[in-house]
Symmetry: C2
């Protein structure tokens, strides 16, 4: 009977050893930066109660939650019905994590009595979304978040900018960090006489980069923003020059609009603070940066790669009331999130993964038979003790096959120990890149491999 | 309106920073050992197709799978019914991973053309089981598995024994590694004239340790094993002495029973091989070790902690046909799995976590005001450059509160830089353990902290 080849759910992925090693290189770089600045690791369960998740991501988000069927007799007490939505809430109590932000807010509220604020945490875990799978969009993907919660200080914004700058410098990706402030966008909405329309306005402005000015203005008109208001926005979206010069223009334009001025003041302080440290990548103020997320209330961050057209590879911002949804109001937080999948793609495309990002053994000891293998066990032990990653090929098969294995795993050397070598207490070392062979006494072999 | 405090699904856990750091210490120790011996990392998706999972863990396992409700109009085409089981298969196509072994087998079969065998992989990921939650049993928990697939060599068994020995030595947990062989158990079943009853026999024998001889024999009688057969088992379960002596007894007893003799021969080879290396913990042959898992066909491993009564903290064995269920027969594999939760409990109980297992900053720079903080930003940058984990307290609040934060996070030093310190270019360093204060020039401070 032919069994069909097994497969995995669409939108999910297996990560092969080669991919894993590269992904871990990215994760480790991010973790190291987070830790360095005092962020501590946190993990929350993959499953959350549905009432923790529902209503936090809009209708679209609710629809994209993966729900988990209750165990046991889940239909007990439920009316047999084909009304999908009503039924799903009766037969499912739990859902898979949709992002790391809501579980983090839930954690903070649940453990508020044990937490000393400010609470700086990082979290690197997968999230799940029932999105339509397409190139570069997956149903399971990792988020890498760092947040400080319980501190209003703009020093946190400065720190997060440094972390973004450092991570991408470490990875070798050239970037621009763009910053704006939600309060400035609110101020602009007020200035054009459409204070209540900030969401529509920011959603449209957010597309400036991708779609160009004309389409943004068309969208604004379609949303019912009057022509007069739109013409007042136009010059603001075009301001350019140094950040400080832009702040001057905005301060004049937004005169008397307190929220807007506070936004400009915050940006000014962040840029002043940045002068006390040095970033390796440019940090730019961009008044058209909006990001769709409605919960931002202060700074907004976005990172673009310089050398690849791929959208933002990191982003974040300040939110003043994230824990309010769980009954703990008045706690301000700010955070960033690295897009590991896009970062992986950028690094792959630009060939930025260092050649030594590999978990391969440094040497493989070939297997010439049972007796030889037993002798080789103690050689392997000596090599490992000396800190050399050495593996012994387990089966006594043709040397060609054993070499094929070593080549496929990028193992650079093979140690050959046959009957003669055992007798003469010599080891032949074959370099796979050029086939060169050399004979060593055991201690000399260790010294040689240590220096490779 | 009072909002009820949020919670998480029963049987799941949040891992606080303190717990995370300790868990990572365990995971990193295990990963390091796996890598050292040439095992490569692999990850598979949390969700698998239900037909990959169903029927692989017995009826009980099928019942304990978490099923994921199909997205969209899941009831379309399904009859409204209250027949739970039939309905669940119509409205759910996917389930959460129940262990790492079946997804690994699925991976190997799916990617068989890209894999050069033997394939040595490790995998550290959570699994989910809808078990009734109780002390020490969770619905989400991590498994840490290493397997070699596509090699019959007993060198793999020897290597896995070394890995178990090394990991627990590193962690400081004293253990005994127990080994048996499924073929010996099959041979014994044949010897007592009950060849077809190996499952019942091994399930009962497996309980010898916990329940004692009498209860095991009662269970065997209840399962319908004749008294005569049971009395033939009795002396075999009592054999003791050195492994080699036990092998002699078994060789005589199982004379003519080829499967059994092959099992003894395999054990003999493994114990001979172990003489070529040195293990730090005792490795014992235990003919009563059975482990419930039916797919084992050769060696069986189990690790017990010496100083804590907690059941097995690591186990594994050889299986000859794991990928057969997915249509790829004839591939032998052997693997082990570390029980991270139990290992954590053992280490906690025996206070084995090293004091320096902490992600805390080495120094916190206190915040005395906006101007001082800007100055401190560059000090922090210098400390970080020198490899010292330094964080700047973000808010200008009372020093007592800032110290409370440092204490709660086990940060050993606070750097105090007020107006005077800036003027005099001196930094006051306060050691929190005893309140001792000392004044430093910047470079001296860096040197001092480097040596702490």
């Amino acid at each position: 009977m032919a069994i069909p080849k097994p497969s995995i759910p669409k939108g999910t992925r297996d990560f092969s050893p080669v991919e894993m090693v590269r992904r871990n290189y990215i994760f480790d770089t991010i973790k190291t930066a987070f830790s360095k600045y005092g962020y501590l690791p946190l993990e929350t369960p993959a499953m959350e109660n549905l009432d923790t998740l529902l209503g936090k991501y809009g209708d679209e988000g609710d629809r994209l939650l993966f729900k988990i069927l209750n165990s046991g007799d889940f239909m007990k007490g439920a009316e047999p019905t084909t009304n999908t939505n009503a039924l799903s809430l009766k037969i499912c109590e739990k859902g898979l994590r949709y992002d790391l932000t809501v579980p983090f807010a839930r954690y903070v509220v649940q453990h508020q009595n044990d937490i000393i604020f400010p609470f700086k945490r990082y979290q690197i875990q997968p999230v799940w979304r029932a999105d339509r799978p397409q190139k570069g969009r997956y149903r399971e993907f990792y988020q890498c978040d760092a947040d400080v919660i319980g501190s209003n200080s703009l020093l946190n914004e400065i720190e997060l900018i440094r972390i973004m700058d450092e991570v991408f410098s470490q990875l070798g990706i050239r970037i621009t960090i763009k910053i704006n402030n939600r309060k400035i966008l609110a101020g602009i909405s007020e200035y054009i006489g459409e204070a209540g329309r900030i969401t529509d306005i920011t959603v449209a402005i957010d597309k400036l980069d991708k779609m160009g000015e004309e389409k943004v203005f068309t969208e604004l008109r379609e949303k019912g923003i009057p022509m007069e208001a739109i013409s007042k926005i136009k010059p603001l979206l075009k301001i350019s020059g140094k950040a400080e010069e832009q702040f001057e223009v905005l301060t004049k334009t937004l005169a008397g609009i307190s929220t807007g001025l506070r936004g400009v003041e915050e940006m000014h302080k962040i840029f002043s603070g940045l002068k006390n440290i040095s970033t390796l990548n440019p940090v730019e103020f961009d008044v058209s940066l909006a990001r769709g997320l409605n919960y931002y209330t202060g700074a907004i961050f976005e990172v673009k790669a310089t050398d690849v057209e791929i959208g933002s590879i990191c982003g974040g911002g300040r939110y003043d009331n994230l824990t309010g949804i769980f009954g703990l109001p008045g706690i301000s937080g700010v955070g960033i999130s690295f897009g590991a999948d896009r970062i992986y793609d950028v690094m792959n495309q630009l060939k930025l993964f260092p050649a030594d990002v590999s978990a391969a053994s440094q040497v493989m000891i070939a297997n010439f038979g049972e007796k030889e293998a037993l002798f080789c066990l103690s050689l392997q032990a000596k090599l490992l003790e000396a800190g050399i990653r050495a593996e012994l090929y387990p089966d006594t098969v043709k040397l060609g096959k054993q070499i094929g294995y070593a080549v496929s795993r990028n193992i650079p050397f093979i140690a050959l120990i046959g009957e003669n070598e055992i007798k003469e207490e010599k080891i032949t070392l074959k370099r796979l890149s050029d086939g060169n062979q050399q004979s060593f006494a055991r201690q000399d072999l260790i010294e040689y491999l240590k220096n490779q």
